[in-house]
């Protein structure tokens, strides 16, 4: 990512003189300008540079402005970018079609630079005001990470994080998600989330969550701050009524300090090296619905050999029919305790096995993660 903070504008016009004219006046006015002379290169630039605004000529050979905006609106990465059409005076139909396709405004040709600047400023302000800038930030995340985030980390990839995981997904892109963050050499973050419902396409959301975790868990943020920032962006991008529950454990191995955050998720289990395992019950709102949220937090001293287990509610649901909630938690607590002698890499699988002997009949995704201090 570059550090250029100027607002950026993509100009698309097949006429080189118009392109140069717009480029000159917008650059003079302090914008960062990208130019494209045809539709395909415009879409490529838009997807790659994520400009804050696009000025798009309607009449272009091959792929015209209508086609370009249709494709921009179809692409999750560019759909939130406001588009202003450049159109001839008499093209009323073109203007109307432009609005229908999602353009925010049009500028009539021949245009006057001052008018262009005024409209550009207006729409950038509107865009900021309506938060579509935040949304487009989120869109950027989506696109950037779509490919890589499908990948879940493994203990082999991060041996220094000392964790083990059991992951069983009903579908390719399951509703459960976990990640392990190397925040510094001695600080690690362990995150586990469960998206509500399998009917929604969660793959892009898991990608967003992964990217958000990476961005918002630097050492300067307290875990609670990290979760709140992630929640704020998720609240912008989650489909209506959808949410996720999550728990986050941040461990400072050097300071032997653990901070636990719970966002509407089943409680983590703490298994000290000696002594009884403990259910870490905390209140907390879910992620991705409201901006003003409360998350449960707990800070504790830990010792080498202590373990924490995070899991999704699929682990509980297999027990749900027979028992009440507290009984189920107790069963899980005891299972976590019982695998004490197993290495942390295989302990989660064993817990899943204990609780769900018929794993193939599972009706929900299940993930269990164990962390050892």
């Amino acid at each position: 990512m570059d550090t250029d903070n100027r607002l950026s504008i993509l100009i698309v016009d097949d006429n080189p003189v118009n392109l140069k004219l717009l480029e000159t006046i917008l650059t003079k006015d302090g914008y960062r300008v990208f130019s494209a002379a045809d539709g395909p290169s415009a879409r490529k630039l838009a997807a790659h540079e994520r400009p804050d605004l696009i000025l798009l000529d309607i009449r272009m050979p091959e792929e015209d402005g209508f086609e370009v905006i249709k494709l921009l609106k179809k692409n999750a990465g560019t759909m939130a970018i406001p588009v202003i059409f450049l159109t001839g005076v008499s093209e009323i139909d073109a203007k109307l079609s432009g609005f229908e396709l999602g353009a925010v405004d049009y500028i009539t040709k021949p245009f006057h630079p001052r008018e262009v600047l005024a409209r550009v400023r207006l729409h950038l302000k509107l865009s900021i005001a309506t938060n579509s800038m935040i949304a487009s930030q989120a869109e950027k995340l989506k696109q950037i990470t779509e490919a890589q985030a499908a990948l879940l980390t493994t203990p082999a990839m991060q041996p220094e994080a000392r964790f083990g995981v059991y992951y069983h997904a009903l579908q390719e892109a399951g509703g459960d998600f976990y990640d392990v963050l190397a925040i510094s050499q001695s600080i690690f973050g362990y995150f586990l989330a469960d998206f509500s419902g399998h009917d929604i396409k969660t793959s892009y959301l898991t990608a967003s969550v992964k990217a958000l975790l990476k961005q918002n868990t630097s050492p300067v943020y307290q875990p609670l701050e990290s979760m709140k920032m992630i929640n704020d962006v998720l609240a912008e991008i989650m489909p209506e009524g959808k949410y996720l529950t999550a728990c986050y454990a941040r461990l400072n191995r050097k300071a032997k300090q653990m901070i636990l955050i719970n966002a509407g998720h089943p409680p983590m289990i703490y298994v000290p090296k000696q002594g009884q395992a403990e259910i870490m019950e905390m209140e907390g709102d879910v992620l991705g619905i409201f901006k003003d949220v409360y998350f449960g937090q707990r800070q504790m001293e830990v010792a080498a050999g202590d373990r924490f287990f995070l899991y999704s509610d699929g682990l509980i649901e297999s027990l749900a029919e027979k028992n009440v909630w507290t009984q189920n938690l107790e069963i899980i607590r005891r299972a976590c305790e019982s695998v004490r002698d197993l290495p942390i890499e295989t302990a989660p699988g064993e817990i899943a096995q204990i609780l769900r002997p018929g794993a193939f009949q599972a009706e929900d995704d299940v993930v269990v993660m164990g962390v050892e201090i």
């Binding site: 097949d14 003189v17 004219l21 000159t24 021949p110």
Partner: protein
């Protein structure tokens, strides 16, 4: 045709404007060559497109005479009337030469 005034009305420095004019001359002359070819092929659609392009950039730079001639050519071509097209192309060419003459009085940057 005062470049200084045209530049000022566009909110540009003179050197920015002359750079645009140079680009305009280059692309418009290339368009004129293509216009002649299109005319030889009696390709009214292509004539219309090229005239539209010249009209657009001329209009934006404030060369309204030229934009008007190009507009006439575009309208005629839209009605599949190419009878006076060669004459209009000739006029466009002369007007471009005129602009070139004015441009040459400014220092090349």
């Amino acid at each position: 045709m005062h470049f200084q005034e045209l530049a000022h009305s566009l909110g540009l420095e003179l050197d920015e404007f002359t750079a645009l004019v140079a680009l305009f001359l280059e692309t418009s002359r290339a368009d004129l060559d293509r216009l002649v070819t299109a005319l030889e092929n009696a390709d009214a659609d292509r004539v219309k497109e090229l005239a539209h392009s010249i009209k657009g950039s001329a209009g934006n730079l404030g060369f309204s005479d030229l934009a008007n001639e190009a507009r006439q050519l575009e309208m005629n071509a839209r009605n599949s009337n190419l009878s006076n097209a060669m004459g209009l192309i000739q006029i466009l060419s002369e007007k471009l030469d005129l602009i070139d003459q004015v441009l040459s009085t400014y220092p090349i940057l």
